[in-house]
Symmetry: none
Subunit: 186 residues, 4 copies
DNA sequence: GATTAATCGAGACGGTACGTCGCGTCTTAGT
DNA sequence: ACTAAGACGCGACGTACCGTCTCGATTAATC
């Protein structure tokens, strides 16, 4: 048995699972993370309240399941011969993700929640959406990444952009991003 | 009017104000931001609920008032002849601030809240605790900072560390910080 | 202090109190005791749920407060020279109370609840609606009631009618009641 | 068809039926009628929830089936030459039934439920546990019971005791019962 | 002996009431 | 005018039980 023993009793409803994920996705955009409630999610999904609690323990958990796949896809960047071009493309994708995309909106909400809820913090780190995407770029654009250095390079790639957007709330122009990419590559 | 018109009637109670700020400080450490409530703050401070609402409109606002001064002080770093040493000192202070300090705990909570509450975001940007401290370091350690470049340099100084701590939850060694500082200065 | 110390804070709202009692009265008639809920009462009375719980601990308690006064009034019977006539009048009033009156409907519901909830049983016995009314009749229509005998006579007056209505669900004619009264007086 | 057409398919499980009746009996004593639930009964009996609903439509119905036979047996009183002695014996049995016996506990619970649930009321009247037992006594101890009078006599026999116990919650001594019996017989 | 059909246990489903908690407002008396 | 106290209407919390609905597994009677 590869998959959760398949025991007795009525099996989990895929219909309900998808309805909840869909509801969370929609509600995040329509009304924002803060005013989203477990009760509201259940009602929006036409699902019993208990059903939500049975499979997820918080709205953060639902949101992560609802957006992780989208996030990973949106941060994918095709390989490119020119390192600067590739890094620029990644930073552009990351900017779009953080400022425009629905999945990015979810990511910001989760990252925010993680600052005052250790459970969410762990959840988010185990998914490691940004890290995974960034490490790919680092590996392809940097020569001899000596393990320990990889982490530092990742932070240098993602950190400045994250700071500019999440902390300063700044809007970055394409040339800002190009500059960042050049400095990153040296 | 130097102070706030000073009309008739009983003046604002300094005792109540300090009790509230003190309560918020303590409660943040004891039980965390998320489970802190306006009701709880008032009771802890032995203050009427209305009194809290009269002077602050959210727990974020109280928390900012309670911790902004401490934050600024903790991020001050003495000038140093060697740029690398100064930057390392700043990064060390920032690390301590974000991982150990009470004021830093408050800052993280506020930064988190800001991700899903625009009002808090604005509040936090207007205080700009990190930016102010970082810009001082940038100005002293970099030659010819051409206005626009200053912002980019600030992001490069603070961003990587912020990412490592807030997003990755990583623990940084002194040599990690030294390395970061060297790369920052070139 | 005769009344409950009259301390600090906003005083209890008489408006809310009456709205709840009124709502319970109406709902009992409209939908019955069983399907009445604390939530429903609060909503019907346009009152917060907490407000209901603050002053009453169960729907039985509210119902008793709402109907005790009415019940006592409905069971009052004017003194009469002829004992048989007076007892007949009382039994007629009691029949009407138990089968027709709103207050009687409440009483039956409470008496029912009392059978499986000791708290309600005690509540109901302390009010002692039926006993009070019946003892008056017994005292006026029986000579030399030697204390201990009074209780037995009360049971003989009220018991048979109660059994016929509550247990058998029988409908009693005026001549049934007259017969009961005659046998009671001898 | 003597039994229930006996079609194809798996026959009803006697094991399950008895387990449910047993569970209800036990739970009534252990936790009381009010806090007994269909879910709890099923779990206690190690029986599927659907199985309970398939054969009974409410806990009242189960309880009646579980206790009716016991009740009838407990209220049986041997014939006696002396009418007063026989009536006293019956009242004593009835008192024990209502205050001590498990079946009596069930009866009180059902009688209570009947006050606010017409379905239970009908169910209980169709079983008529008390009436059947009482009518036997009335027939044996009274001469010329003219049909219509029988009902009145039954009410006079059972009513006062029922009132004393169920409404007043009084504890009756043997001499109280003897007195009642004497007055009943004249 | 295989098929058929109703049962069994388990347990998820959409609902809804529970009693509690915090919200932000209000109404007191007291300073 | 401001204070502490505390009730107000509101609505989300997480839990429990409702009665229904699948599931796979039994268990006879019928073919």
């Amino acid at each position: 048995m590869t998959e959760a023993t398949r025991g007795a009793g009525r099996p989990r409803s895929e219909r309900a699972r998808l309805a909840v994920l869909r509801a969370v996705d929609d509600m995040l955009v329509e009304e924002g993370y803060a005013s989203m409630t477990m009760k509201g999610i259940a009602e929006r999904a036409n699902v019993g309240r208990q059903t939500v609690y049975r499979w997820w323990s918080s709205k953060a958990e639902i949101l992560l399941e609802a957006s992780a796949a989208d996030a990973a896809r949106e941060l994918e960047v095709p390989a490119h011969r020119d390192p600067v071009a590739e890094v620029t493309a990644f930073l552009t994708a990351l900017t779009a993700f953080l400022t425009t995309s629905d999945a990015g909106l979810a990511y910001r909400a989760l990252l925010g929640e993680a600052q005052h809820d250790p459970a969410v913090a762990e959840l988010l780190q185990s998914a490691d959406v940004l890290g995974t995407a960034a490490r790919g770029i680092v590996a392809r654009t940097t020569v001899d990444v000596s393990g320990a250095e990889s982490a530092a390079r990742t932070a240098e790639l993602v950190g400045p952009l994250l700071y500019a957007i999440l902390v300063e709330g700044r809007t970055l122009t394409p040339s800002d991003l190009r500059g960042m990419a050049e400095r990153f590559v040296r």
